[in-house]
């Protein structure tokens, strides 16, 4: 059939009986982690609509925690059923991959989210307002800060318990993101987890101007970057005539030979492939927070409510690196001679800029933001390895890093003065003398960020750099180690500040948390130490999970 006639047949009907469209085959059991989380989110919305106000908080916390735990149980069941290794395949008509990396990252995201829920639910840190315990979220998000409506909302004891279902929707998107096996699913998952995060950023109880500003910046830049991603998808679709990863990879590898002559200008056109691939990478690197697409990170991390920052910093990075890995390893391996030099440059710039700019920071949350940029660079070094070792080292690093981040931001919520959280570094001087316990815990997290042996950070960094060196990227490893040294300087400086400086007279106090935040911090410390002292089991787990399905 000629090209024109074929296209024409799309708009006209032949005289034959209309063909039956086969119903899509969806493997619900294999998608159960995502479905459970999204189902719990819908239940949460219903609870928000129908329950009386005083019941919402306990019900939402319970529902969210149970939903995430059930999702994690489903991931474990799938992994135990062999879907991570032998039975790995592509489910839902080619839209979602069920394989080792997907299940490993989904499990990580679910655990991270479960701990984040604990920090979301904390209600003992803020002073009691009008006889009611309050959390980190605005009484009424839509009320003008400092206005009458807000005062009335605070007086009436309103709380934004919607954050729990919003969190669940974000988690649902993050679960799909690293498992997406076609570009359309990738884009939809990106939006499903980004849009709830924009809202969460705007909901801080204290310093609402900063919070709203962070949300505007995050939203505008996030929408900008997702437009780039979408245009890249359009060009790749034009290049391959399909959006499935396997289909595009076939055209990239040149295994498709039956190119319609009428399509010679599009199918297999390298310009479309290179520009499209680059634009998709821009969208993913933005979510990862790699230089030069990192501009939003410090502002958003600083302005967002700290529990949200912790969740976002940990879970978004896991999901985005998962999607980046799958794109580079499944769709574009045939193009690796083109993307590896670019990713080399991005990784080097990211490591150096993250580490060097962090030295000048005076705010704890901004410091942690730049540290997260530097860590994105370290993880990119593992991505570049293009080997199964590279994949599993990145998986391990992500799991280790996300718990450290979550714990560090949970500690930041504890250090307070009259204006809420005291995030200025100068105020942290002498914290170790006032509250040795909290300062010691924060020191553990900082040492893990710095990659000091006996912490999870060292194991992760070692695995990533080893994989990168074996992949032939020795100069990259040298730059990585040097910028780790720079990064260690400012982490150690904070420790020195906490333990060896005199406390200020008007310094902040450490609030006594409820069991929620205590549990979150305890889990963070436990994972950090266990992954540092006895990482072998988890390294093996990541090693077994390191193969993508096609």
């Amino acid at each position: 059939m000629s090209h024109a006639a074929f296209v024409h047949s799309l708009w006209t009907m032949s005289a034959d009986a209309p063909r039956k469209i086969p119903a899509p085959q969806i493997e619900y059991a294999q998608l159960s982690p995502t479905l459970i989380v999204l189902g719990a989110a819908c239940l949460g919305i219903l609870a928000e609509a129908f329950l009386p106000r005083r019941l919402r908080y306990p019900v939402q916390v319970l529902l969210t925690a149970v939903g995430l735990a059930a999702g994690f149980a489903a991931v474990v069941a799938l992994a135990a059923g062999g879907y991570g290794t032998g039975k790995a395949h592509v489910a839902a008509m080619g839209a979602i991959a069920v394989d080792g990396p997907a299940l490993f990252l989904q499990g990580t995201i679910l655990l991270v989210a479960l701990i984040a829920v604990f920090t979301f639910a904390e209600r003992r840190l803020d002073p009691v307002a009008h006889g009611r315990a309050v959390d980190s979220f605005a009484a009424q998000g839509a009320a003008v800060p400092g206005g009458e409506a807000e005062q009335e909302a605070v007086k009436a004891g309103f709380t934004t318990t919607e954050v729990f279902p919003i969190l669940l929707f974000a988690v649902g998107g993050m679960l799909i993101f690293p498992a997406a096996n076609d570009l359309l699913t990738l884009f939809i998952a990106l939006e499903v987890f980004s849009l709830p995060l924009y809202v969460l950023c705007a909901l801080a109880r204290r310093q609402r101007l900063l919070s709203q500003e962070a949300a505007v910046k995050y939203f505008l830049l996030g929408a900008f970057s997702s437009a780039f991603l979408l245009f890249g998808i359009a060009l790749l679709y034009g290049y391959a005539g399909t959006v499935t990863y396997a289909g595009i990879a076939d055209v990239v590898n040149g295994t498709v030979r039956t190119v319609d002559p009428a399509l010679a200008s599009t199918t297999g056109n390298d310009a479309l492939l290179l520009i499209g691939g680059a634009l998709v990478l821009v969208g993913l690197l933005f979510k990862v927070g790699a230089v030069p697409f990192h501009m939003w990170t410090p502002d958003v991390y600083q302005g967002a409510p700290t529990p949200v920052t912790g969740f976002m910093a940990a879970a978004t990075k896991v999901a985005a690196f998962g999607a980046l890995l799958r794109l580079l390893y499944v769709v574009l391996p045939g193009l690796r001679w083109d993307w590896r030099p670019v990713m080399w440059g991005v990784a080097i710039v990211t490591m150096v800029v993250g580490a060097v700019v962090a030295v000048t920071q005076t705010d704890v949350k901004r410091l942690l933001a730049y540290s997260s940029i530097a860590h994105a660079g370290f993880i990119l070094a593992g991505v570049i390895a293009v080997s199964p070792d590279g994949v599993s080292s990145v998986l391990f690093y992500l799991a280790a890093y996300s718990f450290v981040t979550l714990g560090a931001f949970a500690v930041v919520t504890l250090v307070r003065d009259a204006g809420g959280e005291a995030t200025q570094l100068a105020k942290w001087a002498g914290l170790g003398r006032r509250s040795p316990m909290v300062a010691a815990v924060f020191a553990v997290f900082l040492l893990a960020f710095a990659g000091i042996p006996l912490t999870s950070g060292f194991t992760g960094k070692f695995a990533v750099f080893k994989a990168a060196a074996q992949g032939g990227a020795v100069p990259l490893v040298v730059v990585g180690v040097l910028s780790s040294a720079v990064a260690a300087f400012f982490y150690i400086r904070v420790i020195v500040l906490m333990f060896f400086n005199e406390p200020q007279a008007e310094g902040p106090s450490v609030a006594v948390p409820s069991v929620f935040t205590s549990a979150a911090i305890a889990v963070g410390v436990a994972v950090t130490v266990v992954l540092g002292l006895a990482p072998q089991y988890f390294l093996d787990l990541a090693g077994k999970a390191g193969v993508f399905v096609r």
Binding site: L184, F187, A202, Q212, V216, A223, A227, A234, Y237, S265
Partner: protein, 99 residues
């Protein structure tokens, strides 16, 4: 007409949108420019769909429209709440978060 011309149009629209995001100062206009970029993507999808003779691109265009609508809801909510606080929608005024 050669359908490839629609691709050039899509690229031009996308560039205008991207330039607008970088140049314009009103958050609403910046956001409209993002929407223009999304619509340029839609045009590219539909054109490629026509060129390849399969329907994937047209289906994706529908998804993009839904996503754009959801983005409008979230974006306008955030921008309006900032506007009510500051009585300004300029992205230059949003400068509290700096080193």
């Amino acid at each position: 007409m050669n359908p490839v011309n629609y691709l050039y149009l899509a690229a031009v629209l996308f560039t205008i949108g991207a330039a607008g995001v970088l140049i314009r100062r009103n958050a609403i206009v910046v956001f409209m420019c993002v929407e223009l970029m999304l619509n340029a993507c839609n045009l590219a999808f539909v054109t490629f769909s026509r060129l390849h003779g399969n329907l994937d691109g047209q289906i994706i265009a529908f998804f993009t429209m839904v996503v754009a609508a959801a983005e409008v809801v979230i974006g306008l909510a955030i921008i309006v709440s900032v506007f009510r606080t500051r009585h300004s929608a300029s992205v230059d005024d949003a400068s509290l978060l700096k080193l």
